[in-house]
């Protein structure tokens, strides 16, 4: 039975204004039931106000073998972090 059901990735929005974040995955026969399983598995403790599910097989993922060319070039570019500026006191939540 379990092997018949595809896997779905679950994304939860914790509250309005925040983006959906990956919470985990559930097995379900279709999207409608996947949403209900996601609700019952990942929002039992008031974790969210909105849910997305997407079939795991529909996600295009980067190849771990290619992690070097993909991600290492960014390591030497610390200037991309905006850490060289002094923030005025009036600016909050940066």
């Amino acid at each position: 039975m379990k092997t018949d059901w595809p896997l779905w990735e679950v994304f939860v929005r914790a509250r309005g204004g925040l983006s959906h974040r990956h919470a985990g995955s559930v097995h379900a026969p279709d999207a409608t039931i996947a949403l209900r399983h996601a609700r019952d598995t990942y929002t039992r403790r008031m974790e969210g106000v909105s849910l997305w599910v997407v079939r795991s097989s529909d996600i295009a993922a980067s190849d771990p073998e290619q992690a070097g060319p993909m991600f290492e070039p960014a390591e030497t570019k610390i200037y991309r972090h905006p850490t060289f500026y002094e923030l005025p006191d009036a600016v909050k939540h940066m």
């Binding site: 039975m1 379990k2 059901w5 559930v26 097995h27 379900a28 026969p29 279709d30 409608t32 039931i33 209900r36 399983h37 019952d40 598995t41 039992r44």
Partner: protein, 250 residues
């Protein structure tokens, strides 16, 4: 003279508690971990409702019995739940059939009970109706999938519904308790829920490709404490710890 408000609140609480206990028997046994969690969630909602209804019943009665006292120290003949909720789980199809029929009825009931002239009943129903709307929807989705699934799932869904049809009429029964409280605007007239219930059941069965509801000769009596043999066994499991250790606390 019988305290009708006590009896009415007790019935509401007993329905929820017995079904909540039944559903929690699935814990660790459901077809998948996701279904396990979803049935347990429904069970917890129902137990929460029972706490509120039984707590209120105890207050109305005024004899010092709280929700726990009513739940764990009452013998089977004093239980007033409808017969449907005490039915054994059977397979997943039968559990879903019971949930679909009961939650569809309970949704129609709480929609109206939320307008009760009794503020406490109205408040509990208004809180619970959101939970019950989800239960009814979840169960309906499963009825559709099992009914419109494989030959085996369809057969099991039909068997599950066939088990429960005889307990449907009891949900709409009126008696002296409901008559008295309906007149005061406190209780919902059970008979008035029938059209909503039948329309919803017919729509879901049609979508599931299942045969229409055909009710056999009804079996009734739960509201008067005339239960099937199953309830006593269930209560024995539910009550034996608090009865063995009456002073035990968490």
């Amino acid at each position: 003279m019988e305290n009708v408000l006590f009896t009415y609140a007790l019935r509401l609480g007993d329905d929820s508690l017995v079904l909540g206990q039944r559903l929690s028997e699935w814990c660790g046994h459901a077809p998948t971990i996701e279904v396990d969690l979803s049935l347990a969630n429904v069970a917890l909602d129902l137990v929460g409702q029972a706490q509120l209804f039984l707590g209120y019943a105890g207050e109305v009665e005024g004899k010092g019995r709280d929700a726990d006292r009513l739940a764990f120290h009452r013998d089977v003949l004093a239980w007033t739940n409808c017969l449907m909720v005490e039915q054994p789980n059977g397979d997943f199809g039968r559990t879903i059939a019971r949930q679909f029929l009961f939650s569809t009825w309970q949704k129609a009931l709480f929609d109206k009970l939320a307008l009760s002239k009794d503020a406490r009943l109205a408040e509990i129903a208004a809180k619970a109706v959101k939970e019950v709307a989800y239960h009814a929807d979840l169960a309906a989705e499963w009825v559709i999938r099992l009914g419109d699934g494989t030959e085996e799932s369809r057969t099991r869904m039909i068997d599950g519904l066939d088990w429960h049809w005889r307990f449907v009429d009891e949900l709409f029964q009126t008696d002296a308790v409901t008559d008295a409280l309906v007149a005061e605007g406190v209780a919902v007239d059970p008979a008035s829920l029938r059209p909503v219930f039948e329309a919803r059941v017919a729509a879901v069965l049609a979508e599931a490709g299942l045969p229409e509801m055909k009710l056999p000769r009804p079996i009734v009596g739960g509201r008067k404490g005339h239960h099937s043999e199953h309830l006593g066994h269930m209560l024995a499991v539910m009550q034996h710890i608090p009865r063995t250790y009456p002073e035990a606390v968490w």
